[in-house]
């Protein structure tokens, strides 16, 4: 598991750094949103889920989780680069992608909206008599905990006692708004009690703790203990998107415990625990870099959507 999670983190970091370069080179239009600093939290969640059985609704900073869940790197490359061969076919871009038939939902930009949707997919499983052993998970940030959708969705999941895991990545800022302008409770974890769900505190910079807490939270949901809320403390090591320099984050926070890079922590922990050697990590880094580069190069060569042949149709079965 540790090796799987770390490799997903590595792929996410390498992929996103290249996406950033492509954005700055003008090759990607719209925006690029990175999960830098959140890879350990996201990938350790995604690795606990099984594509084809479980549901995963990733959000903005979940490349790590997407990769660990089984999303192909080419899906990401094609969506960012607007290839017509990608899952979104140029109709939506960047992080707004998914493969709903395989249990990976395509996020909309409205935060918290996925919480009841994953609950609904789980309810469907229950109604079909197929819920046994299934988990649905979604990630949101500290800002999204202020939305009505989050509240309604988590409360509904709790009422139905569904195996939903909501991971709150508290990266201290919702875009530029700090925690003290976002909520007044002492800790977001306090909210779990209010909803009647299990709460799990997590140092999101600590790779081993991420593995342990995600395993426990997903395991409890899978075992029938109802919704689980994980609150991960971390810092976004980049702007909201690559258009944003994140200058509102104080240097003291960057220099502190939350400012440490989970990739560095993970690499050290994984070697220390004997899960992998430094040489192995370097080999992974090289192999991943080449694979990511190949996917991005391929996606850049692929056809872009053509407005003349586009099927301008929002319904699957037009009535007229």
């Amino acid at each position: 598991m540790a090796r799987k999670v770390f490799r997903a983190m590595l792929e996410a970091r390498i992929l996103e750094m290249k996406l950033s370069s492509l954005y700055k080179a003008g090759k990607i239009v719209g925006g690029v949103y990175l999960g830098k600093g959140q890879e350990a939290v996201s990938a350790s969640l995604g690795a606990q889920l099984e594509m084809g059985r479980d549901f995963f609704a990733p959000l903005i900073r979940d490349q790590g989780g997407r990769t660990a869940f089984g999303e192909e790197v080419i899906d990401c490359a094609r969506t960012y680069l607007g290839s017509v061969l990608g899952p979104m076919r140029g109709r939506d871009g960047n992080i707004h992608r998914g493969r709903p038939q395989q249990g990976m939902f395509a996020m909309i930009s409205h935060l918290g909206a996925a919480v009841p949707v994953v609950a609904g997919a789980l309810l469907a499983k229950r109604l079909k008599g197929e819920l046994e052993g299934v988990v649905g998970a979604t990630c949101i940030g500290d800002g999204a905990t202020s939305t009505g959708a989050f509240h309604e969705g988590l409360n509904t999941a709790a009422v139905e006692r569904l195996p939903l895991v909501v991971v709150v990545a508290n990266n201290q800022f919702a875009y530029s708004t700090p925690n003290d302008r976002q909520f007044a409770c002492a800790d977001l974890l306090d909210r779990a009690k209010g909803y009647g769900v299990d709460g799990h505190d997590l140092d999101g910079t600590d790779f081993l703790q991420c593995l342990r807490v995600m395993s426990e939270a997903v395991g409890r949901a899978r075992a029938g203990h109802g919704p689980q809320m994980v609150v991960a403390r971390l810092l976004r090591l980049t702007g909201h998107g690559e258009h944003d320099d994140g200058s509102y984050v104080p240097d003291t926070l960057r220099a502190g415990h939350l400012g440490r890079d989970c990739m560095d922590v993970a690499a050290a922990q994984i070697v220390e625990c004997g899960y992998a050697t430094t040489a192995e990590i370097e080999a992974w880094r090289e192999e991943t870099g080449e694979r990511v580069q190949a996917a991005l190069a391929a996606a850049q060569q692929e056809p872009k959507p053509d407005p003349w042949t586009e099927v301008w149709q929002a319904c699957s079965k037009p009535l007229i």
Binding site: F55, P87, M88, R89, R91, D92, H96, G98, R99, P100, Q101, F105, A106, I108, S109, H110, A113, A114, V115, P116, V117, V118, A119, G120, A121, L122, L123, A124, K125, L127, K128, G148, A149, E152, G153, N155, T156, V159, Q313, A314, C315, S316, K317, P318, L319, I320
Partner: protein, 341 residues
């Protein structure tokens, strides 16, 4: 009760004979019973719909007949719509009852941004049916009376239906659930118990097809939902008083619009009044006028006309409410102006 309000109820007094036993809300109940019985993918989700049977008793007895498939939701319209979307993606055919159409404003984001965009973005359709108890009834006030069809029709990816008859209430709900795309099913609360029919008939129309409710040759009223009945009453009055033969087109589905039927009617009559109970700014009637002007300008012998509610919140008191929505009297006035051009 003043004259205006008394005349409002008059049409429905004709329908109170003992043989007329199926009400509009009965038809909705029966359709849901049929759907639950015949399609294991169907389940119902909404506030107070389980053992209580719903605020309007549209789900009465269904929780007992279909255990575990008629579920009470928290007062969380966003989550209700979200749950339906997730369940539909996972292969179910949920029917959500919003207690009042007005409260669906809380679910607006899920409906227009999640359900409405999903097929275009991902290629995966979202077969949800959202029941909206719509429109005004005396004394219901600003927040239990709204007609929301134009709001949802504005957004791509949603089908919006507005049944006006007992049989349509039944068949269009069956068809809505069978349809693979999200359907906003606007049922009119005023028709729930006033509108009765001896039986449920099937005239073979599908979603998206309008009906000529009353044939005529001097002018066309294009309308939908409860206003179909007000239009017919106005047309009957104009015929009795002045010999005008007015054609009434019931759109049945307001998104998409059956322009073939609308234009064919305007071609026959040369005159158009678009009539609706919703607020006057934009909306279905504006769409009808714009399309007829654009696609059938040469068919018109007079400027196309619109009649809607007044541009205020729906008032509480029956005296004000009855004058807020179009009535046979105001429809007749609008028609006489149209016919005299």
């Amino acid at each position: 009760m003043d004259g205006g309000l008394a005349s409002l109820f008059e049409a429905f007094d004709l329908n109170t004979a003992q043989s007329m036993s199926i009400t509009y809300v009965d038809a909705i109940l029966q359709a849901q019973e049929t759907l639950l019985r015949e399609d294991p993918r169907v389940f119902l989700y909404g506030q107070d719909i389980s053992r209580f049977g719903g605020a309007f008793k549209a789900t009465k007895g269904l929780a007992e007949a279909f255990p575990g498939r008629v579920l009470d939701s928290p007062i969380s319209e966003d989550a209700m719509a979200g749950v339906a979307i997730g369940a539909a993606i996972e292969g179910m055919r949920p029917i959500v009852e919003m207690q009042f159409a007005d409260f669906s404003s809380i679910a607006f984001n899920q409906l227009v941004n999640h359900a409405g965009t999903h097929f275009y973005r991902t290629g995966v359709p979202v077969p949800i049916t959202i029941r909206l108890p719509s429109g005004g009834t005396p004394g219901s006030g600003p927040f239990h009376s709204q007609s929301m069809e134009a709001i949802y029709a504005h957004y791509p990816g949603l089908v919006v239906v507005t049944p006006a008859t007992v049989s349509d209430a039944y068949h269009m709900l069956i068809q809505a659930v069978a349809h693979d795309d999200p359907v906003i099913y606007c049922e009119h609360k005023f028709l729930y118990r006033w509108l009765k029919s001896p039986s449920i008939q099937d005239d073979g129309l599908s979603l998206g097809q309008a009906r000529i409710t009353r044939p005529g040759k001097h002018a066309t009223i294009v309308t939908y939902s409860a206003m179909v009945h007000e239009a017919v009453r106005a047309a009957d009055r104009l015929q009795a008083e002045s010999g005008w033969e007015i054609e009434v087109v019931d759109l049945r589905t307001v998104k998409p619009i059956d322009m073939d039927t609308v234009l064919a009617s305007v071609a026959r009559t040369g005159r158009l009044l678009a009539l609706g109970e919703a607020f006057p700014w934009g909306g279905v009637t504006a769409e009808i006028v714009a399309r007829v002007a654009g696609e059938g300008f040469h068919l018109l012998d007079a400027p196309p006309a619109r009649l809607n509610s007044r541009d205020t919140p729906v008032p509480y008191h029956p005296n004000l409410w009855a004058a807020h929505r179009p009535t046979p009297e105001t429809i007749c006035l609008a028609m006489r102006e149209l016919l005299s051009f």
